[in-house]
Amino acid sequence: MAKLKREIIVGESRIYPYFFVSFATIYLILFTSIPLLRGFWYSFTDSLLLNPREGKLVGTKNYKELLDNPEFYNSLSKTIIYATLVVIGSVALGTIAAIAINEKLPGRALFRSLLTLPWAIPGVSVVLVFIWIYNYDSGVANQFSSGLGFGQKGWLIDPSLGMFSVTLASIWKVFPFIMLVVLAALQSVPEELREAARVDGADRLNIFRTVVLPHLIPTLRIVSLLMTIWSIRRFEIIYLLTGGGPSGATNNIVINVYKLAFENSELGKAAALGILGLLLSITVTLIYFFIDKRQEKN
């Protein structure tokens, strides 16, 4: 492929590749890089929402104030707890679902579609229905819970349950993505490998452990990474379900960024918190790549 690629370049203007990628590149510079740099700049100013350009440089004041405030550590821990629960829950559920429907099963195509359904549902619709399901007086969650003898629970109003309820709705929404990706990976396991293991007398569990799992691990690693950084930045479901409540139980970094900017009008401080959130994503990504490299070496 590399050799063929060279042929198309030889004797031709070298401008073409730049022409092809230029539109996307310029767009990303204008609408991603520049806002990102501006955000970085704002984080060192006392800019307000209504006159963002008139902010004065205040050095690292915003960062200091954030790091001195326990609310930052609360939102950091909520972000990490939420991401961890969603990643573990959705990767486990998605992988089990994929394994369960990978082999022949009556009604498999129908099940596959049904299991994919949550992924297609727009976030706002997810929120509307879960708010109704979780409703204290008339929600079906409490109908079940009372029926089973657990009594009524404040799914979205009890601070000790808020994170659980938000996480459950999120896992419901995203696990099909994991399932579909893992399913695609399972279907690319060479049949000869399974066959060879079977001939060697391995049982199903053994085949899974020695043949299928090693094949799945790279896929699981990359979807876990994507799921983690998506969970760190997920806004809509949490914001609309609880608005960060009850009593700050789900008040993660992105929700705080939004509130600081658009409710308190403190653009500079919001930007500083956003940068800290971005640092968290970058750190997680670096850790994943570091583990990846170490695994490759071994």
């Binding site: 063929l4 690629k5 060279r6 198309i8 073409y16 590749p17 022409f19 990628v21 539109f23 996307a24 590149t25 767009y27 990303l28 609408f31 991603t32 520049i34 806002p35 990102l36 800019s47 559920l93 082999e103 099963l105 099940f111 049904l114 299991l115 994919t116 359904l117 949550p118 297609a120 727009p122 976030g123 706002v124 619709s125 997810v126 929120v127 509307l128 229905v129 879960f130 109704w132 399901i133 008339s138 079906v140 419901w172 579909l180 399913l183 695609a184 990359i222 979807v223 950084i229 930045r233 806004f235 609309l240 970094i253 939004y258 900017a261 956003g274 959130g277 971005l278 994503s281 990504t285």
Partner: protein
Amino acid sequence: MKKRFFSKSFRWVFVLLLSLFAVFPVYWMFNTSLTPVEGLFGGQNLIPPLGNILDIFNVFSTDVPIWRWLKNSAIVAFGTTFSSLAMAILAGYGLSRYRFYGKGVLGFALFATQMLPEALLIVPMYALFMSLGLLDGFLGLILANTAFVMPVAVWIVKSAMDSVPFEIEEAARIDGTPRLGVLTQIMIPLAAPSIAAASVILFFDGWNDFLFASTFITTPEKWLASVGLASFIGEFVTPLATVFSAAIVFTIPAIVFFLLMQKQIVSGLTSGSVKG
């Protein structure tokens, strides 16, 4: 053999339960939209009164301006799709077929956009769009959504074009087809399934957008359906049946397209994001 049978039926029951978990909230939207007010409080029946399921579409004749909201969402969704796709096809082709200085950086930048929280970029974007006069308009929403979803489309298109044999393109070039002709007459048709999958992803990114739409748009006439639907939260005037009928009308297009195109979308996403 007996053991196999047991494990298979066990698996079937497990998949059935998991499917119920996946379907239940969607089913509950339908159930609620068909249940009259009296039936909602103090124990909603698991099976709604079996009236006419098409009653859901009565929502179009209520006070809720759902038709206008959907139209606004469609404008933003089509805008996001076209602008992203145009750039993604060109960039995907360039990344797939050429080696050039800065290619690695561009590839990395496309991945890195996935790390950026919208909630961070929306702050400087708000300031930028304010000075450009793009707040409270659909163009601003299209531009903002494109920035976040276009990179995904570039990856999908690139990996689709990677799998088109190079010789096909070369033969056409030798026959004298101009370079852009090769792209439009050969590469795009051959990558069509993935481009279609990318279109669905792009369209529903715009269609579902809530964060930008709720922050940038101040005039209620310009609300997207997502913002309109979210405005029902914590509001006790609109009947729940109407709220959920509106939510269903908003949700159905997404369900239809995602289920119809699930194979292409999955192969697009797996080759695009997972092989990275």
